[in-house]
């Protein structure tokens, strides 16, 4: 049976732990040895929506495992712009490749692709819904820093309404029995209620605040997010909230020594550049971990033993 990576809902705790372990092993393999692992395989990289890190790290991950990449970085460069249906695009691409990585602005598109294709499909982000590979790399970053996940205190900051990385990570952390979260957002970008209603078999507490300062003494991890202009139906609504939170080095002086700041990137002005040189900044390492985790995912899909 083919392996798809579509949603954190589909992955058990054991599946997630397996990905984390594989990533650890990948990191131990010298670069020149990694080159032989997926030689002859082709990855179709179908990005119907703009991306820098996710697309480049997937493509670099495949190249550095010895595989090749075909695909596109925007919908305008494809036959979709000529009116080709989504399913026709998938059926065409599957003749040329061994695995499909897809990002699309509509929620559920990766699930649909996985259902109609005989190839394994990896969801690289579907609208505001899921971004499971980002979640896996976030978990890997957390595990590397704290050597555990359960019991950590995590504050999510910014756009908690539209941010799929927040939605996916929150659900994954609950699998690790993390049961208390701080949510820092403007009123209009609060975490949707349906995400709080999940029945995990244990109580989950959400502490909601509008002040970023509340998170600094509270958290082991502050997970910052960008206010995403492209998700707003109305520019005026975006302007009202775009500068709601800005974390700077001065604010972090009150932080516990071990506090780590994560961000899925790109950032705009929610993290000041002076944070980059503090020991709390972990977001560039997080981006680097993306390549490792995506290699782990590809190796897992092709069942390559390492």
């Amino acid at each position: 049976m083919k392996k798809d990576v579509i949603s954190m809902h589909d992955l058990t705790l054991e599946d997630v732990q397996c990905y984390l372990k594989t990533a650890e092993k990948v990191e131990q393999i010298p670069l020149e040895e990694r080159f032989r692992l997926l030689s002859g395989k082709i990855m179709a990289s179908l990005f119907f929506e703009a991306s820098t890190r996710t697309r480049l790290s997937f493509e670099a991950a495949m190249y550095r495992l010895g595989g090749n990449v075909i695909g596109f970085a925007e919908q305008g460069a494809t036959s979709v712009s000529k009116g080709e249906s989504f399913s026709d695009t998938i059926h065409t691409v599957e003749s040329y490749s061994d695995v499909i990585v897809i990002r699309h602005p509509r929620e559920g598109t990766a699930r649909h692709a996985a259902q109609i294709s005989f190839l394994p499909v990896i969801n690289a982000g579907d609208g505001t819904n899921q971004h499971p590979t980002q979640t896996l790399l976030d978990l890997y970053t957390i595990k590397k820093n704290f050597n555990k996940i359960e019991g950590l205190r995590i504050a999510f900051v910014g756009d908690l309404k539209y941010s799929r990385t927040v939605h996916s990570l929150l659900q994954a952390l609950m699998k690790f029995k993390v049961n208390e979260f701080m949510l820092v957002s403007p009123e209009s970008l609060r975490l949707p209620e349906y995400l709080k209603k999940v029945n995990m078999g244990f109580p989950v507490t959400f502490v909601e605040t509008k002040k970023l300062e509340d998170a600094i003494p509270y958290a082991d991890i502050i997970y910052m997010t960008r206010i995403q202009r492209e998700r707003f139906p109305d520019d005026i609504e975006y302007e009202k909230v775009k500068d709601s939170f800005c974390l700077n080095a001065q604010m972090l002086k009150a932080a516990p020594e071990g506090l780590k700041v994560l961000h899925p990137l790109p950032r705009v002005n929610e993290i000041a550049p002076d944070v980059d040189s503090t020991p709390h900044a972990e977001y560039f390492t997080q981006a680097k971990n993306g390549l490792i985790m995506r290699q782990a995912i590809l190796l897992n899909i092709f069942e390559v033993a390492i």
Binding site: S7, H9, S85, F86, S87, H104, P105, R106, E107, G108, T109, R111, H112, D126, G127, T128, N129, Q130, Y194, K197, N199
Partner: protein, 156 residues
């Protein structure tokens, strides 16, 4: 004539009776029946707000047609879970079932999320899973949003 006989709508020789409909839901079930092309020219009798020991007040529908299709029954179970469907032959009840929402709902409900792929890809059937039978909540298999069944429009 007894009070009971005055109150009830006439018996039917054969057909389907939908009973134990919570008062008010009967109109929604009628809308479903009305949108089913197989119901054209079929006599239907509808009664509202009868006294009921179980529900306090109930609606009732009598249909002079031997069967309802599976899809119509599923739609009825979505708008009014727990109603009783009785099959009548020669004025006698020969079969009685209480209908509950199915676990998998394929192409029965329209996703409310405008960004969901099912709203944008021609020919793609919606699919919901009944994730909370107590609260009647369903999850869209595609966009993973959770809705109350009553929020969603039926696809007839």
């Amino acid at each position: 004539m007894s009070d009971k006989k005055i109150q009830m709508i006439p018996k039917i020789r054969s057909g389907i009776v939908i009973d134990h409909i919570p008062a008010g839901d009967g109109v929604r079930i009628l809308e479903i029946l009305e949108r089913d092309p197989r119901m054209k020219n079929i006599p239907v009798t509808f009664g509202m707000n009868y006294q009921s020991n179980k529900l306090g007040a109930k609606d009732m529908i009598k249909i002079q047609k031997d069967d309802l299709c599976e899809r119509t029954i599923q739609h009825i179970s979505l708008v009014s879970p727990g109603v009783t469907i009785k099959r009548i032959r020669d004025f006698e009840v020969v079969e009685k079932v209480s209908v509950q929402p199915p676990h998998d709902m394929i192409n029965l409900l329209k996703c409310l999320n405008p960004g969901c792929i099912t709203q944008n890809e021609p020919g793609l059937k919606s699919k919901f899973i009944l994730t909370d039978p107590v609260q009647n909540q369903v999850t869209c298999v595609y966009c993973e949003r959770v809705f109350s069944i009553h929020e969603l429009s039926p696809i007839i």
